[in-house]
Symmetry: C2
Subunit: 396 residues, 2 copies
């Protein structure tokens, strides 16, 4: 099964606000590929990792910091912004880019995941979802049409369909099937509702861990004129093997489809590597920033817990040769001190490092794909990871 | 009474690590003056406001931010750094400048004020002060010699004598007299203990609100070869009139003394203006940064409370024409949103603004003194302040 001509046309249609071009593909068994995503707010090299700015700010960073870590596109959360400060308010203030002072690309998710994972007293019917705000308990209603209206008000470069994700391990097959079919009906309503000509719209493939449901969902979205295809319902409690099995169902069906593939919510470096190998182009996750605020710093081959007392006297940078704001100017000892003193600067510096680490890791992956060494890179990094202790706090 | 030749010689001695030159004086009744303070880490124009970096970080800012707000010198706290991470640790890591990545000037206070105001179970004897750490309850001992050893280990450009401050309204005259005399004995011990040739040492004039005690203390410090003279025991619970009365006792005694005068702990703009008028050259306070973190933004003629709901829709910058990181790129609406969402970026942006406001205010004062318009500036700002409502939340 392959994508229809209609989709292919939309994927490379120069009249669309976002265009994707595959620039190179890996050799051998790998489906890794590089590409260029052109958006109204600049060009993005793929595979790409998008830092998350939930409340119209990437936590602890300002836009100069986000640029400095190397981000070309960030994700912001429709659910959070609709509740606070309100999408109409952001629209009236000039849209999300102006509001948060970010002039590169933005993708907004649809709110579907947050409605399921954050909201209280949730009830989902065919028309939409009713729930109570996690902020103030107020009664809220999201429908596909409302999620699109919110995202058009926010004005991101890329909007995403309102879906009904179901955590695979928490759900019976019938629930997954129902949610997947509802996601398809809602996707068509999102397509019909979406009018903003300077904004792309991505669909979200669901289907849990069931191969046949994933195949049906992939076929459905491949047949619709979305600008890109998200793969939802992963990066949850599934094993890496289960995730890979899903990708090995979905991606081969899209091999001739010219549109970008976006696995929502994945953030650990080895998981990113595996998913790129499986043919995914786009990623987002709060993980690098969240663990940074918890004093966990990512370095080649492992991680450092800066709350460990042995770093209090360590004059070395967190990562030798790292270009980030933390490693350029400060020692492990200073960062360890800042964390112990609960100083705000700790969160910013640690976040700058982990996001720089993640984005530089993606750049290394892109280079390896382009020059034909991605299979070797994958083997090397997997061997390195396998040789690590489970604790994997390394000293240098 | 005037300073002795000995002091004058030290004040302008080119062999001293810090040298002070008065460059212009105001006209009329004002004792305002401009000067240049040359330190091992660069030149400082006075009157100067020093942002406070208690734990080797100006809260929420990194050194690039501190440079951008315009600071040429910051204050850091001996008491806090001795307890955490420890002065010997900082010394072994290359000293305070290297530790915190700040290559401009630093002044460390002596810890005397914190021992009195922060520590628990404090007991002061002739040799020093014993107290329990506010961090972990551990038993600690500060003597004049130890305070100097800590500050030499930290390696600031300017160290300060260990003193025995007494809050004026909380103390009987006999207590103030005893503490002032002890401060003098401790000052001589600090002078004897201080050996670091690349570090200046300032004395602290005490004496509470008692004119005769202040005169005696001023005469004492004027007769000793310190590099500068702090005025301690103010910026507490005294009224502006009481503070001015003390300055009108102290400063006239130093009129021929070539050394800088530093009023410790003062931070509100109108208080700074009055003290400059009374002849003070140097200031520090946590106030601008502390109120910023509490969502109070200083603007010409008043202040804005960004937690007020009316700012949620306000597209204007906090202060039109302000050069700071906040006002260059963001609206009041965005900052109000960040505060409501408890986003870390709020604290950094608000601190950048209030410190820029304060340092630009000092620059305006220096210009006015230099061009002879300081009396007019003082009259204008006092009239503006008098016409404000006590609530003083202004809209533009």
């Amino acid at each position: 099964m392959t994508a229809t001509i209609q989709d292919a046309a939309r994927g490379t249609d120069t009249r669309r606000p976002v265009r994707f071009t595959v620039t190179s593909a890996s050799v051998g068994d790998s489906r890794a590929r590089t590409g260029i995503l052109d958006t109204p707010h600049g060009r993005v090299d793929t595979p790409v990792f998008m830092p998350v700015g939930t409340n119209a700010t990437v936590k602890a960073l300002d836009p100069d910091d986000i640029r400095e870590v190397g981000a070309r596109i960030i994700l912001s959360n429709t659910y959070h912004l609709a509740l606070r400060p309100g999408h109409e308010r952001i629209r009236d203030l000039g849209g999300l880019h102006a509001f948060m002072g970010w002039d590169r690309a933005i993708l907004t998710d649809s709110g579907g995941f947050q409605v399921v994972s954050l909201a209280q007293q949730r009830s989902i019917d065919e028309d939409g979802a009713t729930f109570r705000s996690h902020l103030d308990g107020s009664l809220q209603r999201f429908t596909p049409e409302h999620a699109i209206a919110v995202q058009e008000a926010l004005g991101a470069d890329i909007a995403v369909c309102f879906d009904h994700p179901v955590p695979p391990h928490a759900s019976a097959r019938s629930e997954v099937a129902d949610a997947t079919e509802r996601t398809h009906r809602w996707a068509d309503r999102c397509l019909a509702a979406h009018t903003r000509p300077d904004q792309a719209l991505f669909g979200i493939i669901q289907g849990g861990l069931e191969a046949d449901l994933r195949m049906a969902s992939t076929a459905f979205f491949a047949s619709r004129p979305f600008d890109g295809l998200c793969i939802g319902g992963l990066a949850g409690d599934e094993t890496p093997e289960q995730r890979r099995a899903v990708l090995d169902v979905v991606v081969p069906m899209l091999v001739d489809d010219p549109r970008p593939r976006y696995l929502m919510g994945l953030g650990s470096p080895m998981d990113l590597l595996d998913a790129v190998d499986a043919g995914v182009d786009m990623f987002d996750s709060v993980l690098p920033a969240r663990v940074a605020r918890n004093a966990t710093l990512w370095v080649p081959g492992g991680k450092l817990n800066l709350r460990n007392a042995r770093f209090l006297d360590d004059p070395r940078p967190v990562q030798e040769g790292c270009r980030c704001r933390l490693c350029r100017s400060f020692s492990r000892a200073y960062l360890a001190h800042l964390f112990r003193a609960n100083e705000l600067l700790a969160y910013r510096l640690a976040t700058c490092h982990n996001l720089t680490f993640t984005l530089d890791f993606m750049a290394r992956i892109r280079s390896a794909i382009a020059d034909g060494t991605f299979p070797q890179l994958t083997r090397d990094l997997r061997a390195q990871a396998a040789s690590r202790s489970p604790i994997d706090v390394v000293g240098s």
